[in-house]
């Protein structure tokens, strides 16, 4: 058993002063090309995510949204914790299709319109899992991971036992590629955070460290930083 377990944050983020109280109790990620069980114990071992959702709800989400729901269901199986989801661009593919329809004087799809809000993924997850705790959706212009940690910290200090944060990006349409940064593939990563048991997260500011990590960079950091420790099962 490890008595002094800690993760060194690989990003330069502006974080709460008492950040060292934050503990990682578990995490899960999904990214293309890692679809077999032997790839990593904390990566979803299948190519087509969405197993946590009934078919009639699953059809409304893209793969990143489906993976996000699977991760939330696994990290909060009893629907007990506040959930915070961040994405810089959301479901940009479907949003652009809707804008194109409008520009062409066609009526946009009612389904796509209803799903074009940033909290749509959390809504689908909450319906599927009868989750009735706080839900929050964030877009932060590239600073999503930092914003997620702040929000988690707030919920934990308000008295919740744990918070699940999840950070995802869908596929980015080609039209947007020159205009913004993006991990290049659909991906999602979730962390269950507490003030109790788990790995301490150490924030040592390095000026050269990335300030705006993508979900892929968070996955890489977690794989690298947790390789020496077995995550405690909650």
């Amino acid at each position: 058993m490890q008595h002094r377990s800690a993760l060194k944050l690989a990003f330069s983020l502006r974080l709460p002063k008492n950040m060292e109280q934050l503990r990682l109790s578990d995490w899960l990620g999904w990214r293309p090309g890692e679809h077999n069980a032997s790839a990593h114990s904390r990566l979803l071992p299948y190519e087509k995510p969405g197993r946590s959702l009934p078919t009639m709800l699953r059809r409304r989400l893209d793969n990143a949204g489906r993976a996000t729901c699977d991760i939330l269901a696994a990290l909060d199986p009893m629907a007990r914790f506040p959930l915070v989801h961040a994405s810089r661009h959301g479901d940009a593919d479907h949003t652009l299709a809707m804008l194109k329809a409008l520009a062409g004087n066609e009526l946009p799809s009612p389904t796509r319109f209803s799903m074009s809000v940033h909290n749509a993924t959390l809504g689908v997850h909450a319906i599927a899992n009868q989750h009735r705790r706080p839900l929050q959706a964030i877009g932060a212009g590239g600073n999503e991971f930092e914003a997620l940690l702040w929000e988690a910290f707030g919920y934990l200090h308000a008295g919740h036992d744990a918070v699940v944060i999840v950070f995802s990006e869908g596929e980015l349409p080609d039209e947007y590629a020159p205009c913004t940064s993006h991990p290049g593939v659909a991906c999602s990563v979730g962390l269950r955070l507490t003030l109790g048991n788990g790995l301490e997260i150490l924030s040592e500011l390095h000026p050269q460290a990335p300030t705006s990590p993508t979900p892929l960079e968070v996955i890489d950091w977690l794989i690298d930083a947790t390789c020496h420790w077995a995550i405690e099962e909650a």
Binding site: R59, P110, T111
Partner: protein, 89 residues
């Protein structure tokens, strides 16, 4: 009009494609079973999507507030009767 007309198959394909019903084939859609709630299990957003698809494909315009709209969406059989009656081609 029957379960095997080209129109009923066309409507089934339209439902599957526009509502993105994964893992469902035309054979899975019962001609007389309810489309909404029980049966196929469609919801209110699907009703709007289906209304738009009927308008685009067959020129059939429905009033979302009208009482008989609910009746037209009761089953595939009812939907086929509606399109036969009102299609604009």
């Amino acid at each position: 009009m029957s379960e095997t007309t080209p129109l009923s198959l066309d409507l089934k394909r339209m439902i599957i494609d526009t509502l993105e019903l994964e893992d469902i084939t035309p054979d899975d859609i019962d001609y007389h079973a309810p489309l909404f709630g029980e049966g196929l299990g469609l919801d209110s957003i699907d009703a709007l999507e289906l209304g738009l698809a009927l308008q685009k494909r067959y020129g059939v315009k429905l009033d979302a507030e009208a009482e008989d709209t609910r009746r037209h969406f009761a089953s595939l059989a009812a939907l086929e009767a509606l399109v036969e009656d009102r299609r604009a081609d």
